[in-house]
């Protein structure tokens, strides 16, 4: 079972989730990492659920087209959209106001 460590504005939550868990779904049904995880549309359109992956990124699939379009150069800084991730391995994530409010800079080839 994947172990998730979640950091937000100085707070840290840890929890175990079932394989193939989507953290936005969990937060949407008010389970860990609710209430810390901020999210919006759940459809890869708003980027409110963007988080920086501190460890475990190697187990994630390559960013999908929505992440490429919305996160742009922030992908290189380790950001991913939680609504687009189904977790299979341990992961450590950070979400903070700075991360969420950073401007979206789509890569030129994705415009």
């Amino acid at each position: 079972m994947p172990n998730v460590t979640f950091h937000k504005n100085g707070h840290t939550l840890q929890g175990e989730v079932k394989p193939e868990t989507n953290l936005v779904v969990r937060a949407g049904i008010r389970q860990f990492p609710h209430p810390l995880l901020t999210f919006g549309c759940g459809m890869g359109k708003c980027a409110k659920c963007a988080c920086r992956v501190l460890s475990g990124a190697e187990h994630l699939p390559a960013p999908n087209w929505k992440e490429v379009k919305l996160l742009g150069s922030r992908l290189d800084d380790g950001f991913r959209l939680c609504c687009q991730l189904w977790l299979t391995h341990d992961i450590e994530l950070a979400q903070d106001d700075i991360a969420r409010s950073a401007p979206v800079e789509a890569r030129p080839e994705c415009m």
């Binding site: 989507n22 936005v24 949407g28 049904i29 759940g42 459809m43 890869g44 708003c46 999908n64 087209w65």
Partner: protein, 241 residues
Amino acid sequence: MAELMTQAEFRAALENAIKGRSANTSPFSVAWAEGKLSREHLARWAENHFHYVGPFADYLAYVYARMPDRYTEAKDFLLANMYEEEIGGDRHTDLLIRFAEACGTTRERVTDPDNMSPTTRGLQSWCYAVAMREDPIVAVAALVVGLESQVPSIYRRQTPTLRKIYGFTDEEVEFFDLHIVSDEIHGERGYQIVLEHANTPELQARCLKICEIGAQMRLLYTTALYNDYVAGTAPGLSVAA
């Protein structure tokens, strides 16, 4: 007289009420998952599906209006669900129409109610009737637990096929992607509301029965799509494969 089930027992009973009647078992869903449908068949599916899911916020609005004030969380859930269907991001029906256009049909054909089959009209009418007439908790059991909660498992099977076998692009199948996340949230929140507020044996029994009927209705609708458009047993509705 039946006794009140615990929430765990009631949850298992609700899941059992749907199990075996899942729309995944319909011949249309099986043919879809096996890559045996044509784009024309999928276009007919989209033209019908629009009239089932298009008014979903309308169904929920009736339930919202009749949900008691004291069930604040349930009302908020219904309102959020309506918002997400219509204006939270992309309007869900616009994404369905995008898929339909990729299948070769048009927005005008999709939105024209004359293009739905009699069975689809029956499912839509049932949804309206439940929303307007049933106890609001029973209506949530029907529309959200019985119908909406099935969607992630259906689309999880069908979406990879749309890309790999049918050759649709990511943008064209976005309608399916988004429902895997949003309807998993909606379905589970629906369960939570029903488990909390169906607090008499009589109400629990009614929720179980309507979940069975809801699952049957969706199975009937999906099976009819196969009969009408793939097997071509309904005069005037079939299309060439």
